[in-house]
Each structure stands twice: as C-alpha cells, then as structure tokens.
Symmetry: C2
Subunit: 119 residues, 2 copies
C-alpha cells in the first residue's frame, strides 16, 4: 500500500459512479474510515462538521458499494469507484455537482429530499 | 455566482476530461486562480508547495481548456470539465489516478516524463 498523506488526519476522496463515470461527490476520509471502507466494501468518510466517521447512506439507505479504490500520483488524494444506491446528494440529485458556477442546473433532482431521510 | 467557501483561501478542484469523463487530477484554486481560469478559459490552480498561482501546462505545454465549471451542493468544491492537451500527470499518465490502492497500474504511461518538461 502506498504511503498515503493524511493532512491533519484526513485525505480527500473523489467518489465516481463506476457505471456512468460521473463524479458524485467529494468528501474526506481518515485512516479508520478508509479501513472500514476496505473491510466492509461500503464507502465510509469522516465528517468534518460532525467530527465523526460516517457510513454513506447510514440514514438514507443510499449506500455506496466500493468496486475499486485508486490513489493519485502524489498519494494525497483517493478515488472511490462505487455503485451508488439511490442518489449521492442530500438535495435529491444523483451527483452533488448538479450546477454550473453560473447557477444553471445541468441535472434534474430525481428524488424528493424530504423522502430521502425517512427516520 | 454561489457563495464559494475557500478554506484557508483555497477550494479543492476535481478536473475531469470532458470527452472521456475520466478524473484527471485534484488540485486547489484560490480566488485569483479561479478568476484567471474564467477569464482565460485555461485551467489555473494554486500550488500549495510552491505557494503561487500555476497555469496548468505552463511548462509542459499540456494545457487544459475549460469547457464548464461546476460547483457542489455545499459550495466548497469545484469541478473543471476540460479538454486536456497531452497528459495531465507529470508521470506521463493521462490521469494522476493510474494506480489502485494495492499498487496495480490500471492505465499505461503514454508519454516519457523526461520529454514532458522540455525547457
């Protein structure tokens, strides 16, 4: 395994849909989140706002099955290739990158966000 | 324009090949690098190690023509969709993400890195 660089304990993760190749989201992992991802085959991240490990989909059911993990040349960024259950974005869009910088929506909302978090 | 969140003056940028949809690299931009990118149509970043603005390809000639810039739901990450001249990675691979976490190379080196930096 490469000598990953965790800055302040965290490494950025780009998450890509393995079927459509779409970038779904960018988040961060600490060593434990990465280990959990590898052990369970489900994407785990570290939430900087909640200051804890976070299994993607733990509340929404929208899990990410990790097919492959890539690392970049500098060993300071990861890429999770995933099969996305439901949608990646809490807004109900498949990807968190659904807008241009000028505010144009380039992808539709496919789920009602009120229905994503059912608990 | 959304209220972008620059953490410590920087925002992460995922750069994607607009034709192949491949993730080419992840880097950072400050406000000035972003403004230069929009003004010139060529990808600019901020180099944390060299502590300066960096036009991608300024030494190698491997420019990135920016077709569209997306922003994520939290407005703390950007995505540049680019037409990549040559290769994105200084190793001579098209993408910086050419290896799995287990060290398997999933994409070939397409250029000799010694020939990339000609000056």
């Amino acid at each position: 395994m490469p000598d990953l660089k965790f800055a302040g304990g965290l490494i950025p993760v780009v998450t890509v849909d393995t079927r459509t190749r779409e970038v779904l989201m960018v988040a961060y992992a600490d060593r434990e989140a990465l280990d959990l991802t590898r052990e369970t085959g489900l994407a785990h991240y570290y939430s900087r706002s909640r200051k804890k490990i976070w299994k993607k989909g733990e509340e929404s059911g929208h899990l990410q099955r990790v097919v492959r993990i890539l690392v970049d040349c500098d060993e300071d960024t990861l890429l999770y290739e995933v099969e996305q259950e439901g949608v990646a974005c809490h807004t109900g869009h498949r990807s968190c990158f659904y807008r241009t910088l000028d505010g144009e929506e380039i992808a539709p909302r496919v789920l009602d966000p009120e229905k994503i978090y059912r608990k």
